[in-house]
Symmetry: C2
Subunit: 190 residues, 2 copies
Amino acid sequence: MEILERAILEKGKVLNGGVLKVGAFLNNQIDVNIISAMGKDIYEKFKDCGVTKILTVEASGIAIAVITAQFFNCDTVFAKKSKTINVDGELYSAKYFSFTHKNENTLIVPKEYLDKNDTVLIIDDFLAHGEAVNALIDIVKQSGATLAGVSVAIEKGFQGGGDELRKKGVNLYSIAVIDSMENGQVVFRK
Amino acid sequence: MEILERAILEKGKVLNGGVLKVGAFLNNQIDVNIISAMGKDIYEKFKDCGVTKILTVEASGIAIAVITAQFFNCDTVFAKKSKTINVDGELYSAKYFSFTHKNENTLIVPKEYLDKNDTVLIIDDFLAHGEAVNALIDIVKQSGATLAGVSVAIEKGFQGGGDELRKKGVNLYSIAVIDSMENGQVVFRK
């Protein structure tokens, strides 16, 4: 989507280690006009999928998830990150490794907020290796809900998580896909 | 505001230790219709204050902050919680004690997202002892920005943080103020 790609080029910063910093408009300071346009774009892609709930993960997925939920007129649930491995029976939980923070996390969602009657759209800000999104998909499976699909703002295509999901048949829509950031130059997939 | 008070009575749960659980609609599962109504209500109270930026804290303040930002058509910045006491010069930081989690946290905001040209409205989901809000006010002062005011969804009036802010002359608007939760019975301030 042009508005997001332009924001990445104008306001994003490519840092060492394959990190794209978009704190200026997406995940520390949030430009409401950009994420509203993204929410509408996601809605257009999934509006016929019967979505009843949006699932995201704290903290930086919440803004885009809740703005998108306005278009679907549905509730948003966010998974919390917990260091605790043992969680009681009232929670869905899934472990994943964060390449950004170099640690293992457990995502938890109370069972009362997700069940087999739901059709879930997973939303997040970034998709890189796909660890967090796969943990969210695992939680949707545990709940017995239907997975409508996954939508992310920015897919780092060169890290492979998105193409893995597509191979598995997941209905994935990434608003912007970056195929390369070599020498600080962002190249989008066409 | 009637819609929030009704949601608290119908969907909230009073737990031991003065805890009000509103995960069903506010800070784990988010009812977009309720927070949109709240965002509009906050806008009506502060629309003439020249707000240029909304400041909140991760994770549960983000949803209401970003929805409210739509009405003001301004950016939202969220403070991150850091366990690290030493932070470098590119960040504003303020320590506070979390009564909920029984630990000390440091809130951090990159300096590039807040400065003396901003007029800031602080938004959060809960105001109890006021520790987090006071840390956010400290950050606004460090930045040289003007504080337009503070708005929270739910003030636990019996824990005193809100009245302390009012005494200091802070322009505080709490959408619902709870004066007592004894015996599991929520009593709102009139």
